[in-house]
């Protein structure tokens, strides 16, 4: 009986500890801009990661963002790496990358644009990505109470 009570209490403690902090499940407003450069195309991916916990900060936040094409196969993966994300803060993920000429059409389709719009050098197009095609994976972080974090930073 005692063992059962201890197990129930442990289970409840674990559940309450886990339910204390909410992890981000997706990115906010993923967008992509594509620019024609001298030697091909340059892409610039931007998205936000929001910490909606009022009392807990994320420390050593690591994850991967996968961008999917129309057939749901991964066309790009972006590593996410933040030292600290404070409560209610939106950390901005930004990644600049070069796109090969033959892959450009695929990226342009994601933002519903045509290659004909990128005729001149330095011309650019941008648009929001379908949030169902941008996945946040392998989130690894540990949460810390904001009061503890601020106390450690106090001079």
């Amino acid at each position: 009986m005692t063992r059962l009570s201890v197990s129930i209490c442990t289970f409840l403690l674990i559940i309450s500890a886990l339910s204390c902090s909410r992890m981000p499940e997706s990115v906010i407003s993923p967008s992509l801009s594509i620019e024609k450069s001298d030697n091909g195309f340059t892409g610039n991916f931007t998205a936000g990661l929001h910490n909606e916990n009022p009392q807990r900060a994320f420390e050593k936040f690591r994850a991967r963002i996968s961008i999917l094409d129309e057939k749901n196969s991964i066309i790009m993966e972006i590593p996410v790496n933040f030292e600290t994300v404070l409560p209610f803060e939106t950390a901005v993920v930004q990644k600049k990358f070069s796109i090969k000429n033959e892959k450009c059409g695929e990226f342009l389709r994601l933002i519903h644009r045509k290659e004909s719009e990128l005729t001149e050098t330095n011309s650019s197009v941008n648009g929001f990505l379908d949030s169902r095609k941008v996945l946040l994976k392998d989130v690894q972080t540990h949460t810390v109470a904001i009061t503890k974090l601020l106390e450690s930073r106090r001079k």
Binding site: P54, Q55, T84, L86, P87, F88, E89, I146, T147, L149, L150, E151, R153, R154, K155
Partner: protein, 146 residues
């Protein structure tokens, strides 16, 4: 007719317990935490030279909302709290200098915390009234039975 005394007893106990659970942290918040934060806030601003350390200490003390202030619940009056938390957290975390004008943000949190403990105390009083009603009903039932 079956006696309802057990139901009245359970009703009385549940609301008595709920009242105690609401009263203890709310009274502690009102009498200890808020008093301390208020003292730190006035100390920081009353001296000839502004003491940013005391203001920071008051902010950290109030950063924990207690059980009723609920910084995550953003009603129309409390929306400013979210912006205050984001601004002040970032300021202290990055080590930016805390200015005398930042005292308004600490005052805002103090008001919110005060409103929270007020709500807790009022909830406790309400629970105690219900508990007293339950107890009176139990007494009446006993009288009726005998």
């Amino acid at each position: 007719m079956k006696s309802d005394r057990k139901i009245y007893a359970a009703f009385t106990m549940v609301f008595l317990l709920a009242g105690i659970l609401a009263l203890v942290p709310s009274a502690y918040s009102a009498l200890c935490t808020e008093k301390k934060a208020e003292t730190l806030l006035s100390d920081a601003q009353s001296t000839a030279e502004f003491d940013s350390g005391k203001l920071t200490e008051a902010y950290i003390l109030l950063r924990n909302p207690g059980i009723f202030a609920g910084y995550e619940n953003f009603d129309s009056e409390g929306i400013a709290v979210k912006n205050t938390l984001r601004y002040m957290d970032s300021k202290i975390f990055t080590g930016s200098p805390i200015k005398e004008s930042d005292g308004v943000y600490v005052k805002l949190l103090l008001e919110r915390r005060g409103a929270g403990s007020n709500l807790g105390i009022k909830s406790a009083v309400f629970s105690f009234i219900l508990s007293i009603l339950g107890f009176s009903a139990m007494k009446l039932e006993r009288k009726h039975d005998s």
